[in-house]
Subunit: 179 residues, 2 copies
């Protein structure tokens, strides 16, 4: 039952780049990292409150121009230390749940057409997603001398490379199933 709220680390990581509101954090997660991590408001806001209580992040007093409620957070020294401790920790679980592969594995319970259709759907989704990643890639390529951008770039190329492997596999699988 070790405390293992990965969302905390995601938030600390994002805050190590810039000060952000909970809403901003959600947008950052939905943007560049959503293909390998997800997060909802229902986990972000409680995490921010908890981390504020334990001194990992700080509320910034906004020059409340409007009166609109908006809480921007800043990472503290303690928060940065926690982030670095996690980065240095050698264990990392990559927890993959491919429902598509599950359906493929149990495909024998239905007609082949069903499996072929499921592969098509998977492929279509990947084709759409890879386009987005390629756009990210080309905009990141221009600033590889920026340290952070280099890291973003590497995650994006990871995505593109694996997605391309998926697409090649789809073609092979289709061929095998159509025989």
């Amino acid at each position: 039952m070790a405390k293992d709220r990965k969302i905390d680390l995601v938030i600390l990581g994002l805050l190590s780049h810039e000060d952000l509101t909970g809403y901003d954090i959600k947008k950052r997660i939905d943007g560049g990292i959503s293909f390998f991590w997800k997060g909802s408001f229902g986990s972000i806001y409680p995490s921010l409150s908890a981390m504020e209580r334990s001194g990992l992040v700080q509320r910034l007093k906004e020059d409340n121009e409007s009166g609109r409620e908006k809480i921007r957070y800043h990472i503290t020294k303690k928060g940065k230390d926690q982030l670095r401790t996690w980065l240095k920790d050698e264990k990392a679980d990559n927890d993959l749940k491919y429902e598509t592969l599950l359906k493929l594995y149990f495909g024998g319970a239905e007609e082949r057409d069903i499996t072929l259709r499921n592969i098509d759907i998977f492929e279509e989704k990947i084709r759409r997603d890879i386009e987005v990643l390629k756009m990210y890639k080309s905009s990141l390529e221009k600033y590889l001398d920026n340290e952070d951008h280099l890291y973003y770039y590497l995650t994006v190329t990871f995505g593109i490379d694996t997605y391309e492997a998926y697409l090649k596999w789809c073609a092979k699988a289709r061929k095998l199933l159509k025989r």
Copy 2:
């Protein structure tokens, strides 16, 4: 809050191949499908009880040779229908959580050596896992005329192909980071 216990489908899928005990099911999950799905006793046994109550699976009366407690389950007609309905359902969420990529993305908070080390660890794990997959592959190749084996084979090649893409990416990433 839609009921969405995927473990139920995993179990129904496995039972569509053969009658199994809860313990057997755990072994099957840890074997061929663990690289894309996981499951623990704490979810398997409650799922079996629930599915028995709703008539998706049936206990088999063992010719209790020994007296040793052992409950083998059989999938019912209703269970098979549920499995097929799921296979035909076009939505499939492939939920990937790569903690390694998260650490990579936030790598800027530490020295490059840390990131390089994390890539090494990732690569070592993949190299080990790909060997296992290749063994599965070569034993499955002999029986591709068997419908079920064809499906197992396809999931295994999916794993091998993507893992090979990971390995290529590791080399590229290392090169970029060492400049």
